[in-house]
């Protein structure tokens, strides 16, 4: 198996007016977290994928679990492109281990 790390980015805006809309929103967010997505910032989630095949599967899985209304967008980029992200203001606040390190010492 070859490793060519990719990143899947999911961006969403979901209505939270009625209680059923809130439920749909929570379900979608929980689905993302339980499947290994980490929050980059509110409504923007990313997940590391080993290679293109895994990447396609992840995207298919998001499509299967989409909410009925609202706006959800998805983008796959390479890990190299993702790592070039420029933080203009503020700092990343995530406790999730999201680098592509194989050996992690804690």
């Amino acid at each position: 198996m070859s490793y060519r790390f990719m990143r899947v980015m999911v961006l969403y805006d979901l209505p939270v007016g009625s209680s059923s809309e809130i439920r749909a929103y929570t379900q979608f967010r929980k689905f993302l977290i339980k499947n290994g997505f980490m929050m980059m910032q509110e409504s923007v989630y990313t997940k590391l994928a080993l290679n293109q095949t895994v990447c396609r599967n992840i995207m298919e899985n998001v499509r299967k679990n989409k909410p009925e209304v609202g706006l959800v967008q998805m983008l796959a980029i390479t890990e190299k492109q993702y790592s070039k992200i420029e933080i203009v203001v503020g700092e990343i606040q995530s406790t999730v281990l999201s680098t592509d390190e194989r050996l992690v010492v804690l």
């Binding site: 070859s2 929980k30 080993l50 895994v54 999730v96 194989r102 992690v104 010492v105 804690l106």
Partner: protein, 291 residues
């Protein structure tokens, strides 16, 4: 699709939440997605871990290795059932004929001695010729114990005439550490394939829980040997141990494709089971260091 090896070397609390393993250190929290984890090595005894996490790690076939107060691997987590059809796999395993078991074992021993010989040749040590000769003379089931003779020649060539594996020194500590990491990787693969680690091909020590893993791992010992020879072993501490753990991420070749050692172990183990189940040693796939 698991690929991370996590080493917990400081005081920490580990628990499970929303498919993440949470590691709480003194002042920070790290969350790791459980499907990404291949192996967890708990290096410190000052770690507490919840059963919810252990059971989840077992479900995901993550190997968990626990270390003793000297930070040496001492035990590991092995699940009862590694696949949905363990009953039939166990039955097959018990019924493997003595003939095919000895044929497979002979292949493994031959490969091991061949790899030892290659290693010596790369380092310009003359003894490789002797080992090549041993490879030629290995009989079925290695009746003449060429493996044992080869090991003596091999270790003496690498570490000097006075060296024996029974001594207590940093070299042996490093070798033992590295071997136990590889052994665990094999135990993981065997259980994940639905077989028992207790019933070996050649190894049948009643006190060894990992007879089969001990059999299969033989050709992979050389990867550890190489690393240990390359390392400067004035001391054997955390950084040296991590280098050995990292051997699992080294890239080698199996079936003409480049892969890391952890994946290679998985492919090789499957090929051995194929050979045993279909009575055909041609199905075995060994790794190579270069194309």
């Amino acid at each position: 699709m698991s690929w991370r090896t996590i080493v917990i070397s400081n005081r920490a609390k580990l628990d499970f939440k929303m498919n993440y393993m949470t590691v709480r250190n003194d002042h920070e929290i790290t969350r790791i997605f459980i499907n990404e984890i291949y192996m967890v090595i708990i290096e410190s005894t000052a770690v507490s871990i919840t059963v919810a996490l252990l059971s989840e790690l077992t479900k995901k076939k993550v190997k968990v290795i626990f270390c003793n107060e000297k930070r040496n691997p001492s035990s590991e987590l092995v699940s009862y059932y590694g696949s949905h059809d363990t009953s039939v796999k166990y039955r097959n395993q018990i019924e493997w004929s003595i003939d095919i078991k000895s044929e497979v074992w002979t292949q493994i021993v031959r490969e091991k001695v061949k790899k030892q010989s290659e290693h010596l040749r790369e380092r310009g040590l003359e003894e490789y010729l002797l080992l090549e000769e041993y490879v030629e003379h290995i009989e079925t089931n290695d009746k003449t114990n060429r493996e044992g003779h080869a090991a003596k020649v091999y270790f003496n060539a690498l570490f000097g005439k006075k060296f024996t594996r029974a001594d207590e020194n940093t070299t042996n500590a490093a070798l033992n550490y590295g071997y136990s990491i590889i052994l665990s990787a094999f135990a993981r693969e065997i259980v994940a394939n639905g077989y028992m680690t207790q019933l070996g091909l050649f190894h049948n020590n009643m006190f060894n829980q990992f007879n089969l893993a001990s059999d299969l791992m033989e050709p992979f010992r050389i990867l550890i040997d190489r690393k240990v020879v390359d390392m400067d072993l004035n001391k054997f501490e955390l950084s040296e141990k991590l280098e050995l753990v990292n051997v699992l991420n080294k890239s080698i070749i199996i079936d003409k494709a480049r892969s890391n050692v952890a994946n290679t172990i998985s492919q090789y183990t499957k090929s051995i089971f194929d050979a045993l189940n279909y009575n055909d040693i041609a199905l075995i796939r060994f790794y190579r260091n270069e194309l």
